[in-house]
Amino acid sequence: MLDSKIPEGLLADKWNNYKAKAKLVNPANRKKLHVIVVGTGLAGASCAASLAEQGYNVQSFCFQDSARRAHSVAAQGGVNAAKNYKNDGDSIFRMFYDTIKGGDFRSREANVYRLAECSASLIDQSVAQGVPFAREYGGYLNNRSFGGVQVSRTFYARGQTGQQLLLGAYQSLLRQVNTGKVTMHTRHEMLELVLVDGKAKGIIARNLETGALERHAADVVVLATGGYGKVYYLSTLAMGCNSSAIWRAHKKGAYMAGVSWIQFHPTCLPQHGENQSKLTLMSESLRNDGRIWVPKKVGDDRKPNSIPEEERDYYLERRYPAFGNLAPRDISSRAAKERIDAGYGAGPMKNAVYLDFSDAIAAQGKKNIEAKYSNLFAMYEKINGIDAYKEPMLISPAAHFTMGGLWVDYELMTTIPGLFALGEANFSDHGANRLGANSLLQACVDGYYIAPYTIPNYLAGELKTPKISTDHPAFAEAEKSVREQLNRFLESKGTLSADYFHKTIGRLLYEKCGLSRTKENLKEAILDIQSLKASFEKDLLITGDDTLNSELEKAGRIADYIELAELMCHDALQREESCGAHFREEYQTSDGEAVRNDSDFCYVSAWEWKGKKQSPKLHKEQLTFKSVELAVRSYK
């Protein structure tokens, strides 16, 4: 049975009760303990810095050329915190409730409450690190509103909040590099997890500059490797974002949960052609001032500015008057898809909707809009050559955030003892849909506030475990399997490039396991993926050698994506309800709203890998709600 290890006590006391009882390691013993942290985004950098400050020896890994480039850097809009600076009715409970409702009641109460509880201190700490959050003229911190909530609790640094928070974490990390408590391994990719007596004891990493395989041993391994939205190829993620670390851990015994819960961000730039590599995100904060609409007439080819007001359909305001343009992401994305599929799409490929600032500019003046969003408007113009101060933006939904990930308990430990998963790499806090500005928060809270208690609690029990050397047979065996896979790729002289397979799996998922799903499509998708996998094994063409070789890197990531895609479809197929980002067409009301099934599906699906030839095995973690009532999630 899956034990989520929720502490005793009232919801509001659980985290304090945990901290009061968590085991500690004395400072002299901390020097003897080694920690591996894979990933240097907000979760990884903050965890590595915090543990190093406590006195543990930390090895930090990232595939980028510097820790500062991890994809947290690209988050634009903001970070939520229940500070109630605006005196508009916010509280920890309110934030907890918004998050659990936003997640469509598919997350753990205790985890979500803890997230809200730790949020306020994160702002304090970031300010101490020098994060230049937006201020009011009186010198106090400013806030804005985000989708799915009715208070203003989002802190922001122009449209570059992720960058500024990450630089804070990165600088804290490098400060520890300077003290010698952290060893950085940039341009390194984890390719295997090493288990000794069932516990995580190290990794095999490939040095991407030289191609050398390296063995690294530790007393605990932390994966903070981000999400896998890039499985869709066209997404808001960075090109290098991948699932390999968590997927390889999954194949070693860590369960994956909520695998098919993928958030499609409603405000991204639409696809324009076949060679496109990226769907750039435009911060959701734009929805504070922009109004979303499509023409009322199917196939209206007029320029947006020449379509009169009465011929525009502000469909979010029409369908969800209480939240309007700030409806949560899953609902906004699905509503956009509904209009586009029905033939009302705008733009040259009819695959977009308008995000219009003309009313906001008229009411507030261009200057004020510039102050809030100038970098986003500039980015829009760079990519499309269109001035969005004069003409509405074209936007459409794109794969963005993975609510799913490695299953973790309350301590953020996976089903493998000694293997922790932080940030987007785990499944824990967002349920079936994440609210805007909660992802930076979760990554930071996991790394700064939770792991620094739960990892020492685990390590306290490891002091007496004999040290494992990298000469241990488990390391040799893990390295051998990595070597064999790399050799297979290098010998693969078919006709199709790694990118071909990535684009194909992405297209397939968008069609059959994307914004909306059906039983029939998912069944087909599983067969399609299996045949794609067979083709990958014989038709892949890899050039170059086993040194610095980006094609070889891609091959490993895509092999993992193909297997992951199959699990996503199994997960989506098994869950016969619509919840959050998971919309099964069979389960909807007559006006197209999701129908959740609490009597049969009020659980987290955690999947166990059973080998290449067998179907994955489902384990259930029942979700019980004591502090909130399960309600239909209405934003009308």
Binding site: S50, D65, S66, R68, R69, H71, A74, I123, D124, Q125, V127, A128, Q129, G130, P132, F133, A134, R135, E136, Y137, G139, Y140, L141, Q160, Q163, Q164, Q171, S172, L174, R175, V177, N178, M184, T186, E209, A238, M239, G240, G273, N275, Q276, S277, T280, A378, K382, I383, G385, Y448, P452, T495, S497, D499, L541, I542, T543, G544, T547, L548, S550, E551
Partner: protein
């Protein structure tokens, strides 16, 4: 459109590199510059050739990992634009494009267009932070900071660490990169306490990494994707001299 490319190929740091000619057809104006290179690499794979290695990641102008000299200009012809945000509408059919890595002694070439920028990390590690340990801090609003101060600090903090300033400087100076970090932290009340120590160690580290001196040509500001002002170099010099005078 059809383009003629001259691309720097180099096997590793110690080998000799050279410009190699390529032709590419079927490029559209909506493609990004890096998507054009993707297309070229796809054709090289089909020819069983080794692909052109280049750095890139977020492709939305913020991670700072991409950076190529395009026709002799860092990140290409547009102002305030990273390589990944440059689109092919900036070129026309039949153009010849010279594509080279960012060059500086402190940025050795790893392969083709990929360079090693760990010198930047070493400078930050030497002191580019506020020494606040994680986990605890006073209430955020207990330190009011004026709107203007925070905005000015942000302008400097926006640096993405791509190295275009170094690549474009005839002296390969990192003054803009270092000045930006000094300015970001020195302007904030939280950062003032360590300002003197910070500027001395960072400037020292910058020299040790092999970057050249600043001779105020201001080319860095012109090529900076974030438009970081050269006034941050002046701020660095001011902080540096102040620190030297009051050094105990």
């Amino acid at each position: 459109m059809k383009l003629y490319l001259k691309i720097w190929r180099q096997l590793n740091t110690s080998s000799k590199g050279e410009m190699v000619d390529y032709e590419i057809d079927g490029v559209t104006e909506h493609m990004s510059f890096l998507e054009m290179l993707d297309l070229l690499n796809e054709s090289l794979v089909q020819l069983h050739e080794r692909v052109i290695e280049f750095d890139h990641d977020c492709r939305e102008g913020i991670c700072g990992q991409c950076g190529i000299m395009i026709n002799g200009r860092a990140h290409g012809p547009l102002k305030h634009t990273t390589t990944c945000q440059l689109h092919m509408r900036s070129f026309k059919d039949g153009d010849t494009i010279y594509i080279e890595p960012f060059r500086a002694t402190a940025f050795p070439v790893l392969r083709d267009l990929k360079i090693d920028r760990t010198a930047f990390d070493a400078i930050i590690a030497s002191g580019g932070y506020i020494g606040a340990s994680t986990g605890q801090a006073p209430e955020a609003n207990s330190i009011p900071i004026s709107y203007e101060t925070v905005e000015a600090s942000f302008d400097a903090a926006a640096c993405i660490g791509c190295g275009a300033c170094v690549a474009t400087c005839k002296n390969s100076s990192a003054a803009l990169f270092v000045g930006a970090k000094i300015t970001h932290l020195a302007l904030l009340p939280q950062g003032k306490i360590e300002a003197s120590k910070r500027v001395l160690t960072m400037v020292n580290q910058m020299d040790m990494e092999g970057f050249g001196s600043c001779t105020n040509t201001e080319a860095c500001e012109a090529e900076c994707p974030q438009g970081i002002s050269v006034l941050s170099i002046a701020k660095m010099n001011y902080e540096y001299n102040k620190a030297l005078i009051f050094k105990k």
